[in-house]
Homo-oligomer: 87 residues x 2
């Protein structure tokens, strides 16, 4: 999965002692007339799942949404403050 490696290499130009969690969701729709936005519905609940396991500083979360006719993507990038917070 070289695109992940590229992603991390690009963003981590300086060595820093922190964990990162990245979630990418993509929803490809066969019909262009669909108005349902599955990703938007999933975003809040997935964040709640993650926060059950790690303590997250709200300022350390970056969310990018990209809505297209054929598919939508949602990218969540989380900087995990301390590894020992993972339960």
């Amino acid at each position: 999965m070289s695109f992940f490696s590229n992603l991390f290499t690009k963003k981590n130009s300086a060595p820093v002692a922190k964990d990162r969690l990245q979630i990418l969701l993509a929803h490809e729709r066969s019909s262009r007339n669909s108005n349902s936005d599955l990703l938007q519905k999933l975003q809040k609940e997935i964040m709640e799942v993650i926060q059950k396991h790690i303590s997250i500083d709200q300022e350390k979360i970056q969310i990018k949404v990209d809505r297209g006719n054929d598919f939508s993507t949602l990218e969540i990038d989380i900087e995990v403050p301390q590894q020992e917070n993972i339960t």
Copy 2:
């Protein structure tokens, strides 16, 4: 996000009328000595969240896990049977 486009283009060589949901999780660890597997913990709960919104045929789910020293990745690929099942 060209890697998503490439991913979909590659797999959908023939036009088919179905929706697809793809989730990619990546956990980059600053310490190589960590044994915690955050992605494994999140996988089950994220699947439960998704199944609240869409009805999923268990045979249409592909899960790929890649564990590395520095980061682990989890890829979930779901074929959504009917668009109207999204609630």
